[in-house]
Symmetry: C2
Subunit: 246 residues, 2 copies
């Protein structure tokens, strides 16, 4: 059996997330169905991680074992022929048998996109979170600095404890404005459930002037989800990139 690794992009708007759930339209099932139409045995697609309903991916990474013999340089195009317009395979490669897109992921980069123009942008409405109040990005960037590095992120985790440990390392965190768009980039060795969206909701409260910049460090120390801001809407979140040591 070959082990194939795909980089996928999807618009999460009309998906109930990555993971197959009977009765719902999911990316996993959509991909598995498309590959099945090429022939070969049924596959099980293994993603770097699940994305929730409404969350988008620019660079989700997936692997699966298959007996398909289609040459690798033809495979992305072949799968794309059977995918709906809101999912696309950007690249495909043959990888060693041992490669596991989930287990071997070293870090992931998520981007949260906020639009704070006076009127919503009809073209971006499914791909950002709109807020009418202008945000103070300088304050958000300064406040976010306390999250950098290795911390217990209990305060930014929905329904914790979900995992053995909520200690994670954020190696990169950046808040940038381009006109009416704000990008919050967070790269970490792993993410807790709703972690980026809780960070976004918290930083938005700082940007709105509800909270002082110092509040974020204090929320982090509290290890209490009730202290952080609301979980920002799914439609603003993009899985941008997954990094592997290869």
């Amino acid at each position: 059996m070959r082990n194939i690794c795909l980089t996928l992009s999807y618009d999460g708007s009309d998906f109930s997330g990555w993971q197959t759930q009977p009765g719902f339209r999911t990316v996993q099932e959509t991909l598995e169905t498309a590959v099945a139409r090429l022939g070969g045995s049924a596959i099980r697609a293994n993603a770097s991680g699940r994305t929730d309903a409404g969350v988008h991916a620019v660079g989700q990474v997936v692997n699966f074992y298959t007996d398909l013999t289609i040459p690798i340089d033809k495979l992305a195009k072949a799968i794309n022929a059977y995918l709906p317009p809101d999912v696309v395979v950007r690249s495909a490669e043959d990888v060693p048998q041992s490669f596991d897109a989930n287990r071997d992921a070293k870090c992931k980069l998520y981007r949260y996109v906020i639009h704070d123009g006076a009127v919503p942008d009809v073209f971006m409405r499914r791909h950002c979170c709109h807020t009418r109040r202008r945000l103070d990005v300088t304050a958000m960037a300064r406040a976010s600095a306390s999250l950098l590095g290795r911390h217990d992120f209990h305060s930014f985790e929905t329904e914790w404890p979900n995992r053995m440990s909520s200690v994670r390392t954020i190696m990169h965190l950046e808040v940038r404005r381009m006109d009416d768009l704000i990008w919050l980039d967070v790269e970490a060795d792993g993410f807790l459930y709703n972690m980026v969206r809780a960070i976004a909701g918290t930083l938005m409260n700082v940007g709105r002037g509800y909270w002082p910049e110092s509040e974020v460090a204090s929320i982090l120390r509290a290890e209490d989800r009730r202290r952080a801001g609301p979980t920002a809407p799914a439609q603003g979140l993009f899985l941008m990139r997954v990094t592997y040591e290869r």
Copy 2:
């Protein structure tokens, strides 16, 4: 009665164009219904021009007469409260009784957006025309130069003759590439039916290398629609701006 002028933005994907047609979802009817919910007599929205099914607007201009007394600085927000997420009023102003958004338009700027990346962009798929073959933008720009100025655009008009005259003046025409996106901007004193989309389809044939650059001038001279390229898909077309002498 006040005469109100609105600048509207809409995502045309889920609309059967601007103009009211029984049984179809149109921008005109959606706007008129939203304004009706504010009270006052029924209005009739008069746009700078119709846009076809699937065509978008960044800056459509509309006027209507109303007995509403809502202050002008509150009006856009009030209408937006009743509009669906794919239409938004960007601004509203009181204009002289004589102003007519259609008759008084001096020129309009349309943009046609083409994406020629190797794989379609899932996030832009409703707002551009994707073509897998890389286009030669330099050739398209050179070929387009022959369309500048005052000409009979019969060759770029669907089902002509629709009008008394198909002579129009293109005062600005530009083809630009930004990474995998190509913007074709056309500003003219008026447009024939499907004119920008016929120009886009024609220039794409030049960009693909099917036709030499000189073909565009020859098509223009022929005054024969069968000579030009296909009408490019509606989803790539945006009404950007309407200019008035005021």
